[in-house]
């Protein structure tokens, strides 16, 4: 989306043009494919485990998001954000341990 550019105009015609710009970026399609895969994985997990277990564990995506941001987008993660990610991981560990 950084390639597509920031959205400042929220009129319908401008939004349609924005969507057309977005679908021409190859990265978008890889992202959409991965999100589809994530959705069906979520469905599969929900068929096995309780929702009060599955959804909190998906908070691990904050850790994955931070790593992905460094590797692919070369963003700088502030120490405070790392602290937050570490606390999320600790929370997920507790939820994981609560599995029967």
């Amino acid at each position: 989306m950084k390639v597509v550019g920031e959205v400042h105009d929220f009129r319908p015609a401008a939004l349609v043009r924005f969507v057309f710009r977005a679908v021409r970026v190859g990265w978008m399609w890889i992202g959409i494919a991965m999100m589809t895969l994530a959705f069906f994985s979520l469905l599969a997990m929900l068929s096995i485990e309780n929702v009060s277990f599955v959804v909190p564990v998906t908070a691990l995506s904050y850790a994955a998001g931070a790593l992905g941001a460094i590797l692919f987008l070369h963003e700088r993660i502030s120490p405070q954000r790392w602290l937050g990610v570490a606390i999320v991981c600790a929370g997920v560990t507790l939820v994981w341990l609560s599995r029967r």
């Binding site: 979520l42 309780n50 929702v51 909190p56 700088r76 999320v88 994981w96 341990l97």
Partner: protein, 138 residues
């Protein structure tokens, strides 16, 4: 513009939608998938049969509608409110999903899990409270 009472109310209403509809959507997906059968017993040959029963499940579609409602509310609120304000506020949805699982689906939620969810909320709150832009503008 930020301080206008109308916008404040709109922000609170949309954040309420976010913390309600995202968990509700996931709870409905869970309810639907429990009817489809456990993925532990899935075999590759059955994939079309499984997909068909997923598509035929009313709970799944209701769940998808809830998640779309959440997504629209999320994008709407982000058009005027700061991400660093919206994201920590939406961390409550982890607590809401456990509550809905407990009350609507009758799931047992052990104390350890409640503690874990609380810790996750704190972590997400801290992640969201950092500066939203760290890269130079191109």
């Amino acid at each position: 513009m930020k301080d206008s009472p109308g916008l404040q109310v709109k922000t609170y209403v949309l954040i309420f939608f976010i913390v309600l509809f995202a968990p509700l959507g996931n709870v409905l997906l869970s309810k639907g998938m429990k009817g489809v059968g456990s993925a532990k017993n899935w075999v590759p040959g059955d994939i079309f049969h499984i997909l068909a029963s997923i598509i035929a499940s009313g709970y799944i579609w209701l769940g998808i509608v809830c998640l779309l409602t959440f997504f629209v509310a999320y994008m709407l609120v982000l058009t005027w409110a700061d991400y660093s304000y919206v994201q920590p506020a939406s961390s409550f949805s982890y607590a809401v999903v456990a509550m809905l699982g407990y009350f609507l689906l009758g799931e047992t939620v052990p104390t350890l899990r409640w503690m874990g969810i609380f810790v996750i909320c704190v972590g997400v709150f801290i992640v969201g409270h950092t500066h939203p832009r760290t890269t130079e503008k191109a």
